[in-house]
Symmetry: C2
Subunit: 300 residues, 2 copies
Amino acid sequence: MKIVECVPNFSEGRRKEVVDAIVSEILSVEGVRLLDREMDPDHNRSVITFIGGPEGVKEAAFRATKKAAELIDMNKHRGEHPRIGATDVIPFVPIEGVSMEECVEIARDVGRRIGEELQIPVYLYEEAATRPDRRDLANIRRGQYEGLKEEIETNPERKPDFGPAKMHPTAGATAVGARMPLIAFNVNLRTTDIEIAKKIARAVRFRNGGFRYVKAMGFEIKERGMVQVSMNLTNYEKTPIYRVFELIKAEAERYGVAIAGSEIIGLVPMRALVDVASFYLRLEGFDPSQVLESKIREVL
Amino acid sequence: MKIVECVPNFSEGRRKEVVDAIVSEILSVEGVRLLDREMDPDHNRSVITFIGGPEGVKEAAFRATKKAAELIDMNKHRGEHPRIGATDVIPFVPIEGVSMEECVEIARDVGRRIGEELQIPVYLYEEAATRPDRRDLANIRRGQYEGLKEEIETNPERKPDFGPAKMHPTAGATAVGARMPLIAFNVNLRTTDIEIAKKIARAVRFRNGGFRYVKAMGFEIKERGMVQVSMNLTNYEKTPIYRVFELIKAEAERYGVAIAGSEIIGLVPMRALVDVASFYLRLEGFDPSQVLESKIREVL
């Protein structure tokens, strides 16, 4: 069975009826199932997570984008999170029986259709990127909606992969890509010194010489009198959770600070946790198909 | 969805056609699926693992017992493993949407039917036991087939829970019970000193004052020049893997011996590995429903 996850982000986090309408479009496709929906009023943004087969997720992502273009006007959108369009970003994630290459194909197919049929400029990103500088979403979003609107027609650097080199009148532009599942992993430190969290974030993150697949920031958690290293692990196979955790532990020790605990926010692939157990138990030759639930799914 | 696992052991590990015939009976029940089958010629014993709904596993266990009574003659059986009957033991294990209490009911229903319809004496064990001394299978199997045959008609202590107080002419007797999933967990030590493995086995196992849900023995692994603490963890919720592993690590250190690695043999419930990851990462508030694959199963 082929399962692809799709996690589109929409520039609407306040009007529930708009998000409901978008979710309805997604669920109107047979075989597509909703995993999660989150609305953030401060960011004025929502994140919808759904799964389905390759054709199902393609159709659902397209319908959602079409509906968002009808209901969201980027000229009026305000929110803290960087964004370039009504459907800001559409990542496709391989879950089961599907390769990353297939997800790249899916992203390109959907991107082409959004460009041609909806006349929304589309930028391919991460694994689906056609140019190295477009792997990183931050580069595509540079200047956000307002900045891109000024540049897109005149700067050849910002020509989209699909669709017109001109912002859609209401929907702006959209980034479509393929990526590994993200893990949101936070480590809490027994100190109120935010500088320590920031230093450790710099030690682990790619940008400052740390692990290739770690994005990290240091935050205060005032209500608990602690600080936190808040991370996105963007490839748990190549930069596993336990390696990041052990480095943070070593760095924290250097400041005489203990780790109070950690958190995984949202969903985490079973494999990522199996890898943690294997590391600490020093498991030899363990195969994820030995997990009872995997075996049961296989035979049912 | 209700899923029960059943892991009957049959006193035949050499004649493939006999085990095939038993497996066919099991799979003749609608909705029942085979997870695993193992034949051990030295023990002259086979272990079949299957799953299904409550009614399906009951019917499949009954049909398998009936077939085994036709094809296996305990008067001719020789093998290293302790046994009392053709179908030696039938444990039911709660997997999903089913409580231990329901598995106890299932064990009693199947045991009653085997006793009445097949005229095989049945002893209820572990969670299904009707007397404390029958919780432990070793007590029920005392004297094995030959010893029980001598005592069953005269010793009231050995009166079965169901069926006649008289061995079935070919099939002997059967133990039927309910239990948690077992985890076969081995830890390999970097020494050739078997005494160290034996001492550590005594430290961790219930029998000598160790953890309540651990059975352990020390073995040599000659081909690797190591020794092994070989264990069955009989309740991973109450005696979790990581706690056993950490104690073995501490005990091994006391002899200056390092842990080379560990192994999980066969299947392991996802929850047991999630608990390991949670312990070592010091995870706060992690819910197993955050595992992507669980979430996907839930929505599909």
